[in-house]
């Protein structure tokens, strides 16, 4: 990828909240190995952008600032940032919908979730940002929560056991500015069996 086509900010600086996080992060690495902090710092930058501008992405100036901070050549930061799709190299919507489409989720109805994202979220498809700037939809590979498939990761939270209807409800809540409780939409406890408990019930009839 060559230089991005979207509008880049002219400058970037870490705010106090980010600086506090960076201070904690840098302490984890020895003096000459500070470059190891590049991924955590990219996250810090991305979250700061989300906090301040409503769009969690990493502009190039931010990568330059990180390179400078960690005494590494800027290209090494570009390499890392572009390698991991968790870092958004261009502006995204307020909420990042990361839909898992890998086999278990697909079998359990991720296509319905995708349809719900299009209908309720207003995105035209994978990679699109809704016209109101609320959502950006990305298709991701296995999120590792297959027991509770299908999964939609919104920003940092997992929403599980989704159906078309529950996804629509979820997105409507986000649009109202609410942040529903993450986890299963059908009320199951963590990854316990759906429905009522069938073993170790204490009924003594097994």
């Amino acid at each position: 990828m060559s230089a991005p086509a979207h509008k880049e900010p002219h400058s970037f600086g870490f705010d106090a909240e980010s600086e506090a996080k960076i201070a904690t992060i840098l302490k984890r690495y020895p003096e000459s190995k500070q470059a190891s902090a590049v991924i955590p710092l990219l996250y810090v930058a991305q979250r700061q952008m989300g906090r301040l501008t409503g769009s969690a992405w990493v502009p190039r100036v931010a990568m330059d600032v990180i390179a400078d901070r960690l005494s590494m050549p800027p290209i090494r930061v570009y390499e890392v940032a572009t390698f991991y799709f968790m870092f958004n190299m261009q502006p995204i919507g307020r909420h990042h919908l990361q839909l898992c489409g890998t086999t278990p989720c697909m079998l359990r109805g991720s296509d319905d979730v995708l349809r719900a994202c299009k209908d309720a979220g207003g995105v035209k498809g994978v990679g699109d940002t809704s016209a109101d700037g609320m959502f950006t939809l990305t298709e991701v590979e296995c999120l590792g929560a297959c027991v509770n498939a299908p999964i939609l990761q919104i920003d940092d939270d997992y929403y599980e056991d989704l159906s078309y209807e529950s996804t629509v409800k979820l997105l409507e809540a986000f649009k109202r500015g609410e942040r529903p409780k993450p986890g299963s939409a059908i009320g199951r406890m963590a990854s316990a069996p759906a429905g009522e408990q069938t073993v170790l019930t204490g009924r003594g009839d097994e």
Binding site: M1, S2, R60, I75, R76, Y78, E79, T82
Partner: protein
């Protein structure tokens, strides 16, 4: 040492060697793309697969260490099949555009596809296409051809020390580039073209010019810096089409600086191709006989102590000697080869040589750089310093302007001679660093002594070397870094003011009536008094030629058999690749012909006799390609009658791409200068 059996051949290789190195030791050729002897191992092309006994699957030999008793098979059906598979994968996305690719005929991928490629493709889908990158005026990119071996990325980061290339994105979308479009800032960028195994990075000036099999290859020496990189001059007919480095481990390894590689188009422009005479203030074309007649007439009317000669930075040893002998025949001792006014002391060779030798840098354990910017003055030598620095435990101190990026971390000690004094009296902390080192060295820039107090700087630097333990019977850590290929040769021949002779400043100060300039373009022609009769012998119509009263057209370094001495004092031969244009002739022959015409015939009439005389004057010309074992037994240094001034050191080469007459005539270098050059130079043009 590990004993390894390669296809039944038993070889012993050092522990830690790779299987690939063991295979090479056994004389087996292993195909490879990403592996390069001088770069770190990436192991990502998978072309070097071999079979190792008891290994369940083929192993990448470049990244697999040897073990004692290991049995390796390089040519089994498994190996061949595996390599065919790798080749098929590589060719999935590689365009089949060999007929329009500049790498065609010297392409690793093409060659290896002959051995391991299928005769047809099983891949029917669309190939991936990658947008070309603009990485400067020297390198043309066709990124669709890239096989992502990452040699260029590793070269830029490891050898050149300018980590600007990288692989961005991943998988199918991975691309090699700078991410943010920019021109590479390395002075060694041309080497990327050589190390690219495919046609992704090719020479922009050489684009669509020629095929390798059409070229005649001649061995030469790069004289545009004082490293003396060994080069191969590729010519077709009367034209130099490209210049490539040759391998010489002691000098340039296999690298070459950009100015030497790309400035040859300057050999075709602004050339002096016939003698010219100034008549009534205007230059008119003349014959050799007329030109010689005018010079002979002038010199015969001038007393010997009013005749002077200056040898320039691109003058070969043969012609310098011829000119020196001619001046001796006239009885003149007014000789000088220090165009920049550098206070070089010719009393002892180790006062002006790079005594540590270039390969010797790798043995040093501390370095002090005084008023030199090796990155611009000798990029290949700088790569050697960087190579040593990258091995660790190599403190580097730098005295000169602040904010200079040498491609390795150097402690900036200060800007002027005051730091040398502080190091001498031990008040500067870096003095302790030098003292603690076993084999410390210093590099004194020629620019640092090309100033009014140059002799004092030279003397102080030598004294510092002596006191810091750089001068030992088995280690010589005092080094002077010169700028051009002709400078040390003239010094070896003693082209310096003789008994009662005038130096350049005195000659320019009205000390002579006739001045013979041999390739001397290194000073401002306006300094020559108007009354002085100037004979300019050279190959380019630069500023100095415009001042001349007689122009004698000489040959450039690609156009003559010549001997060049690099900054170490290593004499090397270059051979004639093309003929000089028009009536221009080899320079020593011009002087020899002139001497005959004036009845002062020089005592040699062929190159062998001249070279025998060279060898009788200085032993460096008797051991071509070698340098004498270094070491310093005599600590007595050059003396200076003055004290050092406070003025900070200024770096001599401000515009790397336009530092000599050839590169100033080159369009390619002009484009580079406009991309990289200092902004003030642009404003002045």
């Amino acid at each position: 040492m590990a004993k390894v059996t390669i296809d039944g051949i038993e070889v012993k290789v050092p522990n830690g060697s790779s299987v690939l190195q063991a295979c090479e030791a056994a004389g087996k050729e292993i195909p490879r793309f990403c592996y390069h002897e001088r770069l770190s191992v990436a192991g990502n092309c998978r072309m070097c697969l071999v079979e190792v006994e008891k290994a369940p699957k083929p192993v990448a030999s470049c990244a697999y260490p040897v073990m004692d008793g290991m049995k390796v098979f390089t040519d089994t059906p498994v190996v061949r099949n595996a390599r065919r598979g790798v080749m098929e994968f590589l060719l999935i996305n590689h365009p089949l555009d060999c007929p329009i690719c500049d790498q065609g005929g010297e392409c690793d991928l093409q060659d290896q596809a002959y051995a391991y490629g299928h005769d047809k493709s099983r891949y029917g889908e669309a190939k991936r296409a990658v947008k070309d990158k603009n990485i400067g005026p020297l390198i043309k990119t066709v990124m669709t051809r890239c096989i992502q071996c990452t040699r260029c990325v590793r070269f830029a980061a490891e050898v050149a020390g300018t980590p600007e290339l990288g692989g961005t994105n991943r998988g199918e979308s991975m691309e090699i580039g700078t991410y943010v479009e920019k021109a590479l800032t390395s002075e060694l960028s041309g080497n990327l073209i050589d190390i690219c195994p495919v046609g992704a990075l090719t020479s922009r000036p050489y684009a669509f010019v020629s095929r390798p099999w059409e070229l005649r290859k001649t061995d030469g020496i790069d004289v545009l810096d004082a490293v003396g990189a060994n080069i191969r001059i590729d010519t077709r007919g009367p034209e130099v089409l490209r210049i490539l480095p040759r391998i010489n481990e002691a000098v340039n390894e296999e690298w070459m600086a950009d100015r030497g590689r790309f400035s040859f188009d300057g050999l075709k422009r602004r050339r002096l191709d016939r003698p010219w005479l100034r008549k009534d203030g205007r230059m008119v074309a003349a014959s050799w006989a007329e030109a010689f007649g005018v010079i002979a007439d002038k010199l015969s009317k001038t007393s010997a102590d009013r005749i002077g000669a200056v040898a320039g930075s691109l003058a070969d040893a043969e012609s310098v000697l011829a000119l020196k002998d001619l001046m001796a025949a006239y009885g003149s001792a007014n000789l000088d080869c220090r165009e920049d006014g550098a206070a070089i002391d010719g009393a002892r060779p180790d006062f002006y040589r790079f005594n540590t030798t270039i390969a010797g840098i790798e043995d040093a354990d501390a370095l002090l750089i005084i008023g030199a910017e090796p990155r611009k003055e000798a990029p290949v030598l700088n790569a050697r310093i960087r190579k040593r620095w990258a091995q660790g435990r190599f403190p580097v101190g730098f005295i000169g302007p602040a904010g200079i990026d040498l491609t390795y971390s150097a402690q900036h000690l200060g800007e002027g001679p005051v730091v040398i004094s502080a190091l001498l009296d031990g008040s500067h902390p870096f003095a302790a660093t030098l003292k603690a080192a076993q084999k410390p060295m210093l590099i004194l820039g020629r620019g640092a002594i090309a100033r009014a107090d140059g002799a004092a700087v030279l003397a102080a630097a030598w004294r510092l070397a002596a006191e810091a333990g750089m001068l030992k019977p088995d280690w010589h850590g005092f080094n002077l870094l010169h700028h051009f290929g002709g400078q040390v040769g003239s010094l070896e021949l003693g082209f310096l003011p003789g008994q009662g002779g005038k130096d350049l400043a005195a000659m320019l100060g009205g000390g002579v009536d006739a001045l013979w300039l041999l390739n001397a373009d290194g000073f401002d022609p306006a300094r020559i008094p108007a009354s002085t009769f100037v004979i300019y012998q050279g190959h380019h119509g630069d500023a100095m030629a415009a001042r001349a009263d007689v122009l004698l057209p000489g040959a450039a370094y690609t156009e003559k058999d010549a001997t060049w001495v690099n900054t170490e004092g290593r004499a090397q031969r270059s051979y004639r690749a093309i003929h000089p244009p028009g009536e221009a002739r080899e320079d020593w022959r011009i002087i020899r012909a002139f001497s005959e015409g004036v009845g002062k015939t020089l005592a040699y009439n062929d190159l062998d006799a001249l070279r025998a005389r060279l060898a009788s004057i200085s032993p460096v010309f008797a051991r071509i390609g070698e340098v004498a074992a270094s070491g310093c037994a005599d600590l007595a240094g050059p003396q200076a009658a003055m004290a050092m001034e406070a003025a900070p050191f200024r770096l001599p080469i401000t515009d790397y791409h336009r530092a000599d007459v050839i590169s100033r005539a080159s369009d390619v270098m002009a484009e580079c200068a406009s991309v990289y050059g200092p902004q003030q130079a642009l404003a002045a043009e």
